[in-house]
């Protein structure tokens, strides 16, 4: 379990994340929603040691993040940011193999190869595994990055806007796979996501941020309510229920 306690971050004098306390459980997908500039990505980056925190604590399996050895932590927690600029030509398989770095430090063993193969098969990338990344569409590339995270084989997976710039088909494919990671592999998956309907249909818990503060958190049905969302997004919401899932219309 990952536990954030009163996590705070300042940029200059302004507070970007203000005393955020949340928990992420294994076997669940937790979505972080909120308007632009609410501090979603900052929260995720602090919880995954990509940026330093100014106040508060992050406990990963009951041990504070600063006490973790970076190499050991890489076997527990994987994080994927939205902009992945890569300056070298890799094949899909070569990139996924980087996921094994925390275990083998680059010298791939037979076991590593097996796990890489599993990750490739899990996301159905067998046909494109020898293609170069710059030959792929945005959706395929994002899947390849997620496969790298799967190959890293961590209990905790943080994804920052995995659906950014993707079409409906690829978005669905990625959200379904995120759900499978939590259900079938018992991982705690945390996604920062803008599309509330994807969050509502594919997550177990939702955390809503506004101006750096956690304004709502809990089960999907606790957060996906017209008055809650209206106060977060300052827009009128209408909620409909379809096949037991809540959907929001705000057009």
């Amino acid at each position: 379990m990952i536990k954030l306690e009163k996590l705070t971050k300042f940029f200059g004098h302004s507070v970007v994340v203000n005393k955020a306390s949340v928990e992420f459980e294994k076997g669940e997908v937790t979505s972080i929603i909120g308007p632009n500039g609410a501090g979603k990505s900052t929260l995720l980056s602090m919880a995954s040691r990509l940026i330093s925190k100014d106040e508060g604590q992050v406990f990963i399996d009951c041990k504070e993040i600063a006490e973790w050895d970076s190499k050991e932590l890489a076997k527990r927690l994987a994080v994927l940011r939205q902009a992945n600029s890569i300056t070298m030509r890799f094949t899909v398989r070569e990139m996924i193999a980087f996921g094994r770095f925390p275990y083998s430090q680059g010298k791939l063993t037979q076991q590593d190869q097996t796990i890489i193969n599993q990750a490739i098969e899990y996301l159905d990338l067998v046909a494109i595994q020898d293609k170069y990344l710059d030959e792929l569409s945005g959706g395929q590339r994002q899947l390849a990055f997620i496969a790298m995270v799967i190959a890293q084989d961590t209990d905790y997976v943080f994804l920052d806007e995995p659906l950014n710039n993707l079409d409906i088909k690829h978005s669905l494919q990625i959200m379904r796979n995120i759900g499978r990671l939590a259900r079938e592999m018992n991982k705690a998956v945390v996604v920062v996501i803008h599309d509330i309907n994807f969050a509502s249909c594919y997550s177990n818990k939702i955390i809503a941020l506004k101006k750096g503060q956690v304004v709502a958190q809990g089960e999907v049905n606790d957060v996906i309510q017209a008055h809650v969302l209206e106060s977060i997004y300052e827009t009128p919401f209408h909620i409909i229920e379809l096949n037991g899932k809540r959907m929001c219309t705000y057009y």
Partner: protein, 316 residues
């Protein structure tokens, strides 16, 4: 063609030209004198080639950029500045100028101190932006360059003549003692750099992904910057500044070799720069008959290549 055979071809070229340099015109009567002159020269070219190639490649990897080389950080300008200052302060005939060991130690120490200062300034600030560090290097480089040219204006012509010898890349007045001092040093430093090869591979992904994979990005960046600074200090002190050479060889190596692995690239870039230094110098000596210098040729070719990279939008 496989990367392995490309590397073998480069090795072959390097050996052939090294052989030409050492072997031509050798006979039983003159070999002692010729070898004592020629071997250090070839060794100096090999050392400088390895140092420039490897430092530029590692530097480009950690800065995630294909056009930066350590010379952009002001190292060349600092070297010139140091030499000028020593001559101005102690005179052209002082032991600080004429004693090779002393002069080398001063240059290396100043360059290392400068890089430490620059890096510690960068790593201690809250927002670490590599571009700021580089910009700072460029500006300080300009500053050093301007001060040096101001000082040379004031200088006694005799002093200037001594200074000039150390300011241009030259393989014809190699300091023999320095060569044998640098060889083990370079060996140790490139072995340290080579130990990082798999970590450097992960730097092809961006910094966040590298952190997620358990790499201490800050620490590795620091290590690589310091090692590059050492390498550049060695090569500049040995043969003088060669501005565009690092840019040229790293990019050619990346175009030539398919691999992304630094294990291969570090060897490739070393072999490529050694063989092109040897071949280039041979051409300068035997075809142009010394009417030009290698650094002019390199800056000419390097400049054209740089422009063509700009035009082809190859700069990431």
């Amino acid at each position: 063609m496989q990367d392995r055979s490309k590397l073998l071809i480069l090795l072959f070229i390097a050996v052939v030209f090294a052989g030409l340099f050492i072997g031509v015109g050798l006979n039983a009567d003159n070999y002692q004198y010729f070898l004592s002159r020629r071997v250090p020269k070839v060794v100096a070219m090999i050392l400088a080639g390895i140092a420039i190639g490897q430092s530029a490649l590692a530097f480009q990897t950690i800065t995630n950029n294909r056009i930066l080389t350590p010379s952009i950080m002001g190292f060349d300008a600092l070297y010139i500045f140091t030499q000028t200052l020593v001559v101005v302060l102690f005179g052209g005939l002082s032991s600080y100028v004429l004693n090779d060991y002393l002069n080398f130690s001063i240059s290396v120490a100043v360059m290392l101190a400068f890089s430490m200062l620059l890096f510690s300034f960068y790593f201690n600030s809250n927002k670490q932006n590599l571009m700021v560090l580089l910009l700072l290097g460029v500006i300080l480089g300009q500053l050093f360059g301007s001060i040096s040219s101001f000082l040379t204006m004031l200088m006694d012509p005799n002093d200037f003549a001594t200074l000039q010898q150390s300011l241009f890349a030259s393989f014809n007045n190699i300091k023999v003692e320095l060569v044998y001092l640098c060889a083990p040093l370079l060996f140790v430093i490139s072995a340290l750099l080579f130990r990082l090869n798999r970590v450097l591979d992960v730097f092809w992904l961006d910094k966040d992904n590298a952190t997620s994979l358990g790499i201490d990005v800050k620490k590795v960046t620091m290590q690589v910057l310091v090692l590059s600074a050492c390498l550049i200090a060695i090569s500049t002190a040995l043969v003088g500044p060669i501005l565009f050479f690092g840019l040229l060889v790293t990019n050619l190596a990346r175009e030539m070799l398919r691999s992304y692995q630094h294990r291969v690239l570090l060897f490739g870039v070393s072999l490529l720069s050694v063989s092109s230094l040897l071949a280039g110098q041979w051409v300068v000596e035997n075809i142009f008959g010394f009417s030009t210098t290698l650094s002019v040729v390199i800056n000419f070719i390097g400049g054209i290549y740089f422009l063509s990279m700009l035009l082809r939008n190859k700069i990431v």
